[in-house]
């Protein structure tokens, strides 16, 4: 039986993480490769990098981060942010990433999902979805809408429809981020996660809102998520990945406990 996965997420701008790991003794790691190595050694099951570099001429810095990460850690990791073409995907995969995450680029051009899946296999293509709760309507029957630009732009697309459509187009996995829960540390959006998990047969990674190990247990055990994305919980030294996995294991969630 498969283990549920714990996936730390690192935001990277021009080769530096925007939130470094802050240890109790005030040492701050801002190098994404060192952070990746740190989480690898703690037993992270996978990693996600989001490249939030604004200018496209500095994107090569990220390719270098991916290459150095792949030389140092030997678990799967995915890369998202700024990927718009199959050629962008190829560069990141050749540099050593296992998977590619597409979000707003797929909303604007759904064909990128299919093209990527045909070129590299479905398992390489992760659809990132940013979702906001809205009033249910004819256009948005589920009451959850796809947004981009960090939630500022509503796309008029129903999240439930988009999840199913992405699976049909060839996405191998969905990373489901609730904009409402993101940053609150009050727990994942359980209703949304359960709805999407039940609607698709591909794995769903829950994202946004994790503040305690219990939040992760709830989304994995009660909302059907296959993996939990975490960021500030571990970046600020509140918990280690190992502590989180220990808690989940004790609570009866199947976890990878030896590494």
């Amino acid at each position: 039986m498969l283990s549920k996965r714990i996936i730390p997420c690192l935001d990277v701008r021009e080769g530096k993480t925007t939130k470094g790991i802050k240890f109790k003794n005030n040492i701050d790691i801002g190098d994404p490769v060192a952070m990746a190595r740190f989480y690898y050694e703690q037993g992270a099951d996978e990693l996600v990098f989001y490249d939030i570099t604004a200018s496209s001429d500095k994107r090569d810095i990220m390719i270098d981060v991916v290459r150095r990460t792949a030389e140092n850690i030997f678990i799967p990791f995915s890369v998202g942010g700024g990927i718009r073409t199959v050629e962008d995907m190829r560069r990141v995969l050749l540099a050593g990433a296992e998977k590619i995450s597409v979000n707003s680029a797929a909303v604007k051009n759904p064909r990128i999902i299919t093209d990527g899946a045909l070129a590299f296999g479905n398992q390489c293509i992760v659809l990132g979805m940013d979702v906001k709760k809205v009033k249910a309507s004819t256009a948005i029957p589920s009451g959850y809408e796809i947004v981009i630009n960090g939630g500022r732009t509503h796309m008029g697309i129903d999240a439930l429809w988009w999840a199913r459509e992405a699976e049909r187009l060839g996405a191998g996995e969905i990373c489901l981020n609730s904009i409402d829960a993101d940053g609150t540390k009050e727990g994942y959006e359980m209703t949304l996660t359960r709805m999407i998990s039940e609607a698709v047969t591909i794995p769903v990674i829950a994202s946004g809102g994790a503040g305690t190990p219990e939040h992760i247990r709830a989304v994995l055990a009660d909302a059907g998520a296959d993996a939990g994305l975490i960021a500030s919980m571990t970046h600020f030294g509140t918990y280690t990945v190992q502590q989180i996995k220990e808690y989940l294991h004790q609570s009866g969630v199947k976890m990878r406990m030896a590494w």
């Binding site: 039986m1 498969l2 283990s3 996965r5 690898y40 099951d45 792949a70 030389e71 140092n72 030997f74 678990i75 799967p76 995969l93 050749l94 050593g96 296992e98 296999g121 479905n122 398992q123 191998g172 996995e173 047969t201 591909i202 794995p203 296959d226 990878r256 406990m257 030896a258 590494w259």
Partner: protein, 211 residues
Amino acid sequence: MIAIIDYKAGNLTSVERAVRHLGHAVQVTDEPAAIRAAERIIFPGVGAAGRAMADLKALGLALLLIEAFAAGKPILGICLGTQIIFDYSDENTTPCLGLIPGRVRRFPEPLFDGPVRLKIPHMGWNRVAFIDRHPVFANIDPANEFYFVHSYYPEVAPGAEALIAGTTHYGFPFSSAVARDNLVAVQFHPEKSGPGGLTLLDNFCGWRPAC
């Protein structure tokens, strides 16, 4: 020198990086001369069986692998490489190399584990119960898990069960590792399986088969 066979089947650099990280000399190559000269062979691969067999034949590497096996050279199959050493794959109805008797089948759908419907591909971390302590699987914690990504699984032919070296449970038990003389093959990705996977690769790189 360890040769990683390059037959255009997916991204081979991750295997190369892991072996290099362990300090072994390694070369990704499709050159028959380089493969013949290599001390040992890693046969990885991601993708579809039909295309992979066609490319292997076109590059003249199918016979070369069979020769290398007969000559006693240590060979490690990984993922699609493992599936291709069986007799036959249901994927694209492909006759394969036939180094291990058996066939490769697609996971049945729907697949259940009790009340839980399992997703296909089988993707993520799972246990491998190693049946006997083959030297390539030495010094690996029995609780260790390995990273899998596949929709087809190997099934060793009736009567050849002695070649099963490890099993994994996904709806039902399947052969996730096989071993025959100088050949070891695994369905999972040791190069993506953390320290336990690196131990396996390192074991292979130092392995001297008895035969």
